[in-house]
Every structure is written in structure tokens, then in C-alpha cells.
Subunit: 768 residues, 2 copies
């Protein structure tokens, strides 16, 4: 496959060389030559950047080509021209093409990596960026905001590009609309591959955002089609549409933890998209609907198991007379001809209803306006395993008309519209994840303007003679595929790196351990020979590595004598510790992140570990983010504090870790708090972090805790606290749970340890 | 002229009869026949309503014509088929035409006189109402709300109609947008004559409203062109555009006390309209701008002397993150190629700025967001008499770009942009109210998308070789006229009734007086022979009539002995009293309105009148409305109360009188308040009423006034209180003035009479 791509790209290159030869080809090898070539460029020019690393380069590519003779800036050999270090690209003028540039190993010095304007007087129109890659070109600090691609002007295009690994603040791709020069833009965002975007831990991690609340009344007409969104997990909105008349067609959302959200703006078209979840995740969503006039047709939802904001189809409640940046009522929306296969409660209405929170929120935050004039028709719900509750309603459902929808099991939801009919349907698997009824169901509802839906998901005609409920009309062509990977991304970049095999490095001394940590490759395992290791400096973790005792029943002991942290977690540090004892001298922490520049997430997995005699177990910096912290079967004792994930206090919805799980673990004699895990700010759409504390035993702790709370989890949305034993902890409160988010104490055993309090509505700072 | 119209309409009728003969003509003479004809109608049918009065008829006209063969409902003889009593018309279906119906002497039993739908399942599309008249078809009670023409569906038309005299709640013409069936409607409102709409005294008196705040994000595309708005004085908004993409072209706003207001919604086109004010009125406005993306081009403003909300061009401040129904910021608006001739301070920016009211208003009411990205270019300001302050700013003007505008005198405003250049321009009067520079000024600013403005006010081309600043490009065609009356309204209805000459009726007894009042024609004068008239019942005033003493120096006395009011004011009652003495017996009021059904305004003019021994001078009912109450050179004494205009207490911005002027008048021994004139509700856009109290003497009054206030004017926006003498009035306060509205006590003489208090910000009930 790789060979094929290489050959193919060489072919392209040779072909383009021929083209270049016929027009005016200017090869440039350094910045001065490049700038001169740009300055002198005229329609038809091909400026060819020489192979190699272009470091710390800020390209301003301007000029005026024509439709027939654009000006092109291209790589000498595609994939071999890399922009590295502190670099970016701005385009201004008309009919410019950028082809085949590769951004990596760096970040932009400005607010954008690729920007479709040079300044307000030199805006790009009819310009195209294609076959480019931006890979982990992310700011060093999560809190620094930028966009990787920022659209301005009109009729610009991003096509066949691959973008992955943005972990800092800011949507990966942003369409700007402020100014008449940028409205009615008809930008094309087509055939791109948006590769994995890691969880960010808070808002502002969208993959695409089109406009903002201040331009939500603006016609945008941005066209987003045939893109693949693969594990775009940055935040709850994969795409945030915040302007009018945008079209989203034939995109694939693959295991992406979020939704296509019609956040502001109206009259979106969402047609022919595919949403693929899986059996295990309830973070993967579908389409979330706010505002008016949208048409949602021919979409295919497979194994979407999210709930509320992340349900396959989430229709929200609005705020009466909503402020510009909040939630308008949903009106005049059509949802027709969609298929929901093996989804869980795919239709959820009045999502976000929060009338019960009137005590803690101002009237301008209360979503009480139910959807009105919404038509749900000709949709198909099919479950291999019965889903008794296809509909979830958070308020009355009195503004929705259901017509001619079919489900293959009995609907036992509270809402049982006649227009959702239980019918036995025989179904066939036509391809991977692709299920279609064997026969067309012709009983179609012909609503207002429904005749404008003339095609199905695959582009086959819907006619009065041959039509079907759901996204697909029979006959389906032979070998139909839901996801045709050849459509997405570049023709040269291989996004799926081959995994290297892990090897085991045996060590028996401290020096060997330090050396092994330095040398280890990703995924390697360092096996400690049994004994005691004296360590005078920090162990630095900057890749995925395991440190284990060879014998499970006899733990190796690491004794730390320096004031510095025992383990220093760097970006991408992923530490697995098993069967070891970590002993401090009460002057240091067990784990620290860097104080700054935690540009990427780290992880921590502890199994059968004993930690004793430290200050804090974990101390983090404000901008740091752990995707997962998992502690199991361990013992933590004689420390001042436990896990301190409490430094992200901007009260803007951000937090320091996504998943924190502590289970089967004993805490004894922790002076202050055992865990402090904080998320601040009232924002209904940042739905993290996730704390699980089960089957632990916590004793003799909290003596010096100034707030007299043993476990602090303020603002964390998902908390499970059950089957723990709390004994002789001198605190008033074990924890405060947030009732409105469904938190409740499970079966815990509490002896002489204060109590678990449940507060229904938490008062948080308003973010908007 | 009348003859011409008659002949012309007969001609039309004859022609249409010929057409009818060729298609299927069905003459109907009663409701049963009409309904049968409608029920059986098919494409091409002409249903002809017989001449005469159709009383209490509710027509449901439905069917499906075709573009080539519409179904027509037409008058047998145009102008001779009248809908009277409790009547209305609803249309449903497609390609229906209603021609030549005349609504008068009644009102609608429903919410509309003409409605473009029958119900939600039978909506009109591609239907037309033409050559129809609705004349004073107004509800009996001002507080009952209706619309005369209500648009639903798509592609409907109101053309060549005449509508006048609506005095109750509700826009004359309303375009409804709730529901996908009604958006993107492309309705045509063309060539109509919107005749005088009287002042209403509060909001909801628009002539046209397109959508509402709840549909302000909706594309409407309503086309309003070539209409004449003549003295449409219903409220401060003549047209209230509350949706997107509406077009207003080549309309004439003639002495209409309000503005074309872009209240909600965006991207309006206002091109080639003419705004005619006059020397005396500062109530006549131009265009008021809110929201984003509007283009205001080729408009001609003549003698617009309004201020703030009513200025020729009022660009408002917005509310940051405004609630849906309040004020969005103005952004991305273009104002180009307009002419402002003899206007007063035509450009006003940040209108509505109210930061100073932060103490009494919530943050969601504070308009602090200044206009941004507004371009003002190629406009022409010309004043025959120097206007030193062409620009008024209520906040910083930092978001407006001025380019290539010309003014013929020095700009001494606080804001002096380079882009407004003082230049001597020779000008020619090319027609009535039509002034054009003698030579084109070619120095044109070519802003973004300016090339889309290809024509001038008269439709002449703007080219790179021949262009001009201002609305008009030379050469102007011979005999150009600003207002071509043949374009507007029907071809048969004469809206300007010939005024009848007033005659004088001499009377010498009470019986003769009562009889004369009954017999008098509009504008007649009843001359009282000197002496004393004993009256045992009320004098009923239901038309314009004068009652005067023949000898100015020797007043005739009318003595009232009944408990009933001396004068009963009916709708359209317009009483002029001169040189008379009115004497009560303390059991009755001098003037009363009806208790209800005050469907139209009344007026009261008193000159050299003595009023004594009454309860109240004037008592009104809630729904009543006086346009003008003028009292001059009179004496009022020994009454319990004076003028009680305080019954409209809905706190929705309404009030009981528009203009109240009392001058050179003496009040003595009024027990309670001299005047109670009330307007409730915080609404920045209901800018009434108007109270002038000058050169009066008020003595020995207020003894029994419970609030200890002599003159009550709560909520009245315009108050002048000067050169009065207050002596020995036992009150704490003479009056409370509203500082924020510029009210201040003039030079009054106050002796033993309390004081005049000025309150800067009045706390009023929020209306929204």
C-alpha cells in the first residue's frame, strides 16, 4: 500500500513537472528566492519549493492568478517539503494554489498555521490549499489558542488534506465571517481527512467551527463534504456550525467523541452523512440541533450510544428570547429519511431542559422553550437487540410531528407517537456496518418541500415509484461501502503508522534503570530485577513505557532521596507501573508534570503499587492534561496529599484530567485531601471530567485538610463513588456530589468519617 | 381628474369583461352563489361579484388556478362592490386573483381583513390581491389588535391597492414567517398607496411589518417597491423589517411620522427610496439601522428634520449579546450614493446609547455596542441654509469609515471625518423637491462590492465614466419627477376627497343648538347668539364642528344642569369652542369620551373659553385617544379636577393623547390635579406624548390631591413647562420632570406652591 502511494505520488509529481515545464516553473531553495518568486509571480506561475526542511518560515503567498492560470506554490517532491519550527503560511489575492506542503515538528508563531488572508487589505478569494498535511503542529501550552486553517474571503478551498493531533485551545479549522468580504463565502472543505484530535479537557477543541455567535445571523454557505472525521475527540462539538446556510454532505464521523452541532445559525443542510460509534463508548454522538430551518436527511447512524447532548439526534430546548450567544428555540426543522442502526435511544427531545435549575441560574440561562414545528418523517430505526426506549424526552413533546417512521421493535418510551410504527422488517448486511431493509417500504410521508429530497445516501434517486424510508433506497449497488477511504485526505501521506513491537529491557541497578528509560522505544517494558533501587534524581517519562517488577508477589522498591519529584511526566509521557514500591523522604512528590509547555497529554497507570512517604502523590501544572489516570490494587500511605488535579482554575470549563479511576486501593494517613479534581464554570456542554472511585479503603486521613473535605471533585460532571470504606477520617465531609448531574453515593461504608453530601444544583461561575 | 379615473376604470372593466367572456365567467349575487362558485371553481374561472353592498360576509376564496389561467374573484363594476359590516376575506390555494373589492363601513371579525391563508392546511401561494381598497375598516376599540392584510405562504402579491385609516392596534400589513411554508416568500408588495394612518398613541401602529423578533433569523425576501406611504403616522416605525433579505425599492415616504426601520433581521436592501419631510415637523424620519449586512443606496432625503430615532439616517447602538427581541449591534452596513437635501443633522450614530441608565435598567437593556465596519461613502449632503452639525454622535464613532462624501457647508460637528469634505457645489432644481448637482462629481470611492450598485435613483446607469456622488447621476431626464402619483394605488379610487366648504349655522336657543349639532356637516360653524343657554342633556360631538360666540368680547354662556357630561366626544369628534362660558353644577364633567368603542381619535380646541363648576374638565376611557387637545386664553375654575388623560395604564407604551397644549390659561381652585397625563412602560421607541404648558397661571389648587402633585405627567416623553406662574397651591410638588428625556423646568414663577422636581431616570416597567 505504501509502495502504491509512493509510486502514485511520484506519478503525480512527474505529471505536474510536465505541466510546470509548459508554464513558468520557478524553483526556489530558500526564503529569499521564495519571496522574490512570489513578488514577481504572475498568472500561470508554478513556484516549486525545493525538497528539505524549511525551518522557521513565515510564507506570505500573494498574487493574482486567473481561473485558467492560477499561481501555484508546490512542493518539489510531494511529502518531502516540510515546514518545521515556528512557521506558518498566509495567502492573499486570487486563484492561488498551495500543493503538498507538510507542517510538522513545530507550531505557528501567529494565530493560524494556514490563513486565507495576509491582512485586511489582502484577502484570499478563489484560492485552494490541497494535498497538505498538518501533523501535531500544536502549541506548547494547551491554553494558547490558535487555528490550523483559518478561512477568510470567499470561494476558498481546503481539499485532500490531512490534519491531526491538535491538542491546544482553538478549533482545528475556523471559518471567519466578520466583514462583508467574508460572508456568502461558499468555501469548499472537501475530501479531507481530519485525523485523531485528542481529548482536550474542556471547550474550544472543535475540529471545524464556522462563524461564531456574533455572526450567527450571517449567510455563510460553507460547503463541508466528503470528509472523514476520525476520532476527533477534542470536545463535544466536532463541527460547530455558527452561521447560516452551511451544507454538510457525505461526511463520515468515525468514532469521534462529539457531534455535528448546529450551535448557532440556521438553515443548515445535513445530508448523507455517516456516524459510526461502537459498542462501548457513550461519548460518540450524532447531530445536535438548535435554531431554525434545518434539513437533516439521508444520514446513517450506526451504534451511536451517546445520551443527551451526545445522542444520535439531540433536539434541544431553547431559551425564550435567547441572548445572541445562548440557545434559540428549535423551530421548522425537518428530519427525514435517516437510518438509525443499533443506536441507543437515538431520538432525544428538549435536551438541555433545565427548568429545575431556576434557583441557581438567571432567567437568560433557562432552556424552557420546547421545539416547535419539527417534522420527523420517513426515518428507519433498526435494532438487532431490542431498544425499548428509542425516544427520550426531557420535557413535553408537543411541537414535533412524527410521520411514517418505522422501528423494528416495540416503542415503550414515554412518548409513543403514531408516526413511529413498529413493523417487522427483514434486513440485509450489504457491507461493513451497512444494513439495509431487503425491500423498500413505500409508505412515504410527503411533507412540505419533501420533493426536494431527490437522492438517497448513495446518490440513488428517490422517485414516487421507487423510494424507501431510511437513508438508503433499494436496489443498493454491488459491493457498496459506507466508508471509501480513497476519498479522504492526501494521496501521499500514510496516517496509520505501523506499531513497533515492544521489547523488554531487564535492569538491576538504578543506573541501568535511568539509562533504560532514556533508550527505551515507545511501548517498551523495563523489567526491574528484584531488590532496592536508590534514586537521587527524577525519572523522566516522555514516551509510553512500563516499569515493572518481574515478580508480582515480591515488589521491587524504588527509594527516592532527592527533593525533586520521583517521576517527571512530560508531554506524551505514558507510564505504566506495576508491582513496585515507591518510597520518598517526605520532601518530594511522587509524580509531577512540567511546570509549563505540557503541549500534549500524559497518562498514568498504576497497578499493585505501594506509594509512601511523599508530599503529594501527583502535582500538575495549570496547562497540563492527563487523558487517563488509573490506579488499581495499590496502597498509598503517609503522604501529605494525594492526587492534585486542581490547577486548571480558569473557570472556563477546562480541567486537568479526563478520566481518573481509583479502585481496590488503600489510602492511609494522607494528611490533607486524598484527591482534588476541579472543573470550574457553568457550561452545559463541557461534559467532563470522569471520576470513578470504587472499592477503595481510606483511613486516618484528612487531618490537616483545611476545608475538612476528604475528596474534592468540584465541578466534575461524571462521578461514581461506591463500595468504598471510609474509616476514622477526621473530616466533616467525605465528598460533595452534584445531584443535578445524576451523582449519588453508592454503597459506601462510613465509620467515623463525616458524610457524603449531595447538592442538587452547584453554583458555578457563568461562562457566557 | 375624477372623470378621468371613472372613464379609465370603465375601460378596464370593459376590457376585463371581454376577457371574462373568453374564459368562464360566473356572476354571483349572494353568499350562497359565491360559495358555490368558489367550490366549483377551476383554472381560468372568473367569479364576478355583483354590484352592491355585501354585508357581514366572510369570504373563503380557495382553489387552484395556473399561472396562465388563474382563478379570479372580481367586482362586477370596480368600486361598486363593497364589503361592509363584519366582513373579511381569506385566500387559500394557488394562482388566485382578487380584483377591485372595496372594504368600508365595518371591521373584520377575525384577526385580519385579507389573509393569505384559510387555515394551516390551506395556504395561499402565487396569489394576488389587486385594485382593492380598505378604508377605515378599523376595530371599534383601539386595543383590539388586527392586521388588514396578512401574508402567509410564498409568492403572493398585493398591488395597486389603497389602504387608509387604521387606528387600532396592529400593523396595517403583516408578513408572517412562522413555518417553512412561509419563509423565502418573495412576496410582492408593489404599487400600493398606503394612505394616512392616524397617530395611535403608542406602539403597534406600523404600516408594514415583516416577521417578528422570533423570526428575525429567517430569510423572507419580501419585495416592497413603488409604494407611496402618505402620512403614515401610526407609530415611529412606518415599516418594521424583522426578517432577512427584504428589499425596499423606489418607495416614497411622504410626510410620514416615522422611519423605515431595520428592526430585526439582516441584509436588507434599501435602494432608490424617497423620504419627504417638511419644514415644521421633527417627527418625520428616514431610515433607522439595526443589525448587520444592510445596503442603503440611492435614497433621496428631503427636509427630514427628525432627531435621534427619527433622524434621516439613524445608526443605533446595540446591546452586547442582545436578547433575541432587543438590539443587535450594527455591523457591515453600507450607506452609499444617498442625497440629503435640506435635512437637519441627517447622520446620527450610536442612537439609543443609554449607558447612563445602567442604574435603572438591567444589563440586557444597555445599548453600549457601537456600530462596527460601517461604510458611509459617496453621499451628498446639501443645505440651502447652513447645517453646521450634519453628524450627531451619542457615543464614540470608531467603527464607521467615511469615504468621499460631500457637504456644501463646513462640518462643525464633533465628528469631522476626512471622508466628509466641504465642497462648493452648484445645484439645480430639476422638479418639485428635486435638487441635483449641476455637474457630476466623479471622485467616487470604490468599496467592496460597490460595483453591484449599477443604477441611480432614476434607474440611470452608474459607470466608471459617468457617475456621481449622491442619489442621482447627470444627465437627469427632462421633466423628471420625484413622485409620480400614477404609480401608486388603484386606478379607480379617489383618495383625496374634495373638502366641503364650511357654512355657518346661527342659533339662538338651546334647542336650535342641539338641532344644529345634529344637522351640521363636517367643518360647519355653529354661531351662538349672545345670551345664556340652559342645557339639560349632553351635547354630542361626532364630527368636526365649531361652536362659537359671535362676539369675541362678550362670551355666550352655556349652563349645564344634567348629571351627564356637558360634551360627549365620539370617535372623529373634533370640537372647536371659542368665546364661550361653560358652567356646570358640580355634578358633571365638562368633556367625556365614550366609555368604549372610541374607534377613532377625537380633538378638542378651546380658545377664550371659561369653564367653571364641574367635576372633571375632561374624563376619558381607556381605549380613547385624542390627537390634539389645545387650550388657549381660557379660564378654568372651581372644578374638582382638570384634564384626566390617565386611563391607558397597560404600561405597554400607550397613552390617551398625542399633543396636549395649554397656554395663556388660568386655573383657579382646582381641588385635585390640574392635569394627569400618563404613559407607562419602558420602551425607547414610543416617543410620546407631548405636553406643552406655557404662560399659564395656576392658583389655589391641589388641596385635595392625594399625591400632593399639581401636574402629573408620568412617562410622557416630551414636556415643556415654562413661563407659568404657580401661586398658593397646597402641594409638595408642582410636577416631576424626566431628566433623561431632556425635560427641564423653564422660567416659572413659583410662590407658595411646592417645587418642580427633576428625576434623571424614571423607573418604568420593562415592556420586553
Amino acid at each position: 500500500m505504501k509502495r502504491f502511494f509512493y509510486t502514485y505520488s511520484m506519478l503525480i509529481f512527474l505529471v505536474s513537472c510536465q505541466l510546470v515545464a509548459q508554464t513558468n516553473s520557478i524553483k526556489v531553495t530558500n526564503t529569499i528566492e521564495l519571496n522574490r518568486a512570489i513578488k514577481n509571480s504572475k498568472a500561470g506561475d508554478h513556484i516549486v519549493m525545493a525538497n528539505g526542511i524549511w525551518k522557521d518560515i513565515e510564507i506570505k503567498f500573494y498574487g493574482n492568478g486567473t481561473k485558467e492560470n492560477p499561481i501555484t506554490l508546490t512542493a518539489e517532491e510531494i511529502g518531502k517539503v516540510t515546514m518545521e519550527g515556528i512557521s506558518n503560511l498566509k495567502l492573499g489575492g486570487s486563484y492561488l494554489i498551495v500543493n503538498g506542503l507538510y507542517f510538522k515538528n513545530g507550531y505557528t508563531p501567529s494565530k493560524n498555521v494556514i490563513q486565507f488572508k495576509i491582512d485586511n487589505d489582502l484577502i484570499a478569494n478563489n484560492c485552494k490549499v490541497t494535498q497538505c498535511v498538518i501533523e501535531e503542529f500544536t502549541q506548547l501550552d494547551r491554553d494558547i489558542s490558535d487555528h490550523w486553517v483559518e478561512f477568510w474571503g470567499r470561494h476558498n478551498e481546503l481539499s485532500h488534506c490531512y490534519l491531526t493531533g491538535k491538542s491546544n485551545f482553538g478549533p482545528t479549522l475556523m471559518v471567519q465571517l466578520k466583514g462583508n468580504e467574508h460572508v456568502k463565502n461558499y468555501h469548499q472543505i472537501i475530501n479531507n481527512h481530519f485525523g485523531p484530535r485528542p481529548r482536550k479537557g474542556g471547550p474550544h477543541g472543535e475540529t471545524i467551527q464556522i462563524g461564531d455567535s456574533g455572526t450567527s445571523m450571517t449567510p455563510s454557505h460553507t460547503f463541508v463534504a466528503n470528509n472523514l472525521f476520525e476520532r476527533c475527540n477534542g470536545e463535544i462539538e466536532i463541527i460547530s456550525s455558527k452561521s447560516n446556510f452551511n451544507e454538510f454532505r457525505n461526511n463520515v464521523f468515525f468514532e469521534s467523541e462529539g457531534s455535528l452541532v448546529l450551535r448557532h445559525g440556521n438553515y443548515a443542510t445535513i445530508d448523507g452523512n455517516i456516524f459510526i460509534g461502537n459498542d462501548n463508548s457513550d461519548n460518540i454522538g450524532g447531530i445536535r440541533v438548535i435554531n431554525t430551518g434545518h434539513w437533516i436527511t439521508n444520514n446513517y447512524f450506526y451504534k451511536i450510544k451517546g445520551n443527551e447532548f451526545r445522542s444520535a439526534l439531540a433536539v434541544m430546548n431553547g431559551i425564550p428570547k435567547s441572548p445572541l450567544n445562548r440557545y434559540n428555540q428549535v423551530t421548522d426543522v425537518v428530519v427525514a429519511y435517516n437510518s438509525f442502526i443499533d443506536c441507543k435511544s437515538p431520538w432525544q427531545f428538549s435536551v438541555g431542559s433545565n427548568v429545575s435549575q431556576s434557583d441557581v441560574l438567571p432567567a437568560t440561562e433557562i432552556r424552557s422553550a420546547r421545539p416547535e414545528r419539527v417534522v420527523i418523517a420517513n426515518n428507519f430505526i433498526y435494532n438487532q437487540i431490542v431498544d425499548e426506549n428509542p425516544i427520550v424526552n426531557y420535557d413535553k413533546v408537543d411541537g414535533v410531528t412524527f410521520k411514517n417512521n418505522i422501528i423494528n421493535n416495540e416503542n415503550k418510551s414515554e412518548v409513543k407517537p403514531e408516526g413511529l410504527e413498529n413493523k417487522t422488517v427483514s434486513i440485509a448486511k450489504k457491507g461493513s456496518n451497512l444494513f439495509v431493509s431487503n425491500e423498500n417500504i413505500h409508505d412515504i410521508y410527503a411533507g412540505f418541500d419533501f420533493e426536494t429530497v431527490t437522492k438517497d445516501l448513495f446518490g440513488n434517486s428517490r422517485t414516487s415509484k421507487n423510494n424507501n424510508i431510511g437513508a438508503i433506497v433499494n436496489p443498493v449497488k454491488e459491493n457498496a461501502v459506507l466508508i471509501d477511504k480513497t476519498k479522504y485526505g492526501t494521496n501521499w501521506f500514510l496516517s496509520n503508522h505501523v506499531k513497533t513491537k515492544s521489547k523488554t529491557i531487564n535492569v538491576s541497578t538504578s543506573e541501568e534503570l535511568i539509562s533504560a528509560l532514556e533508550k527505551a522505544n515507545k511501548n517498551d517494558v523495563i523489567a526491574l530485577k528484584n531488590g532496592v533501587y536508590q534514586l537521587k534524581s527524577s525519572l523522566v517519562i516522555k514516551k509510553q513505557v512500563s516499569i515493572i517488577s518481574t515478580k508480582k508477589n515480591k515488589k521491587t522498591e524504588l527509594i527516592f532521596s532527592s527533593d525533586n519529584t520521583a517521576f517527571e511526566m512530560l508531554p506524551k509521557g505514558n507510564l505504566i507501573l506495576e508491582n513496585v514500591i515507591l518510597t520518598g523522604n517526605k520532601t518530594q512528590n511522587t509524580f509531577n508534570t512540567l511546570d509549563k509547555n505540557m503541549s500534549k497529554a500524559y497518562n498514568l497507570f498504576l497497578d499493585n503499587v505501594e506509594i509512601k512517604n511523599f508530599k503529594s502523590v501527583l502535582e500538575v501544572s495549570k496547562g497540563s492534561f492527563a487523558d487517563t489516570i488509573l490506579v488499581a490494587n495499590s496502597t498509598i500511605k503517609n503522604c501529605e496529599r494525594g492526587f492534585m488535579l486542581n490547577k486548571e482554575t480558569n473557570d472556563g470549563g477546562d480541567y486537568n484530567a479526563e478520566f481518573v479511576t481509583i479502585t481496590n486501593t488503600t489510602f492511609d494517613n494522607i494528611q490533607e485531601t486524598v484527591l482534588d479534581y476541579y472543573r470550574g464554570g457553568y457550561d452545559e456542554s463541557t461534559i467532563g471530567g470522569n471520576l470513578t472511585l470504587t472499592n477503595n479503603t481510606i483511613t486516618n486521613s484528612g487531618k490537616a485538610e483545611k476545608d475538612s473535605i476528604l475528596i474534592k471533585n468540584r465541578g466534575i460532571v461524571n462521578v461514581e463513588l461506591s463500595k468504598n470504606t471510609f474509616k476514622n477520617n477526621s473530616v466533616k465531609l467525605i465528598a460533595i456530589l452534584w445531584g443535578e448531574k445524576g451523582q449519588e453515593p453508592g454503597e459506601n461504608t462510613i465509620l467515623n468519617s463525616g458524610k457524603i453530601e449531595v447538592v442538587q444544583n452547584l453554583e458555578l461561575k457563568l461562562m457566557y
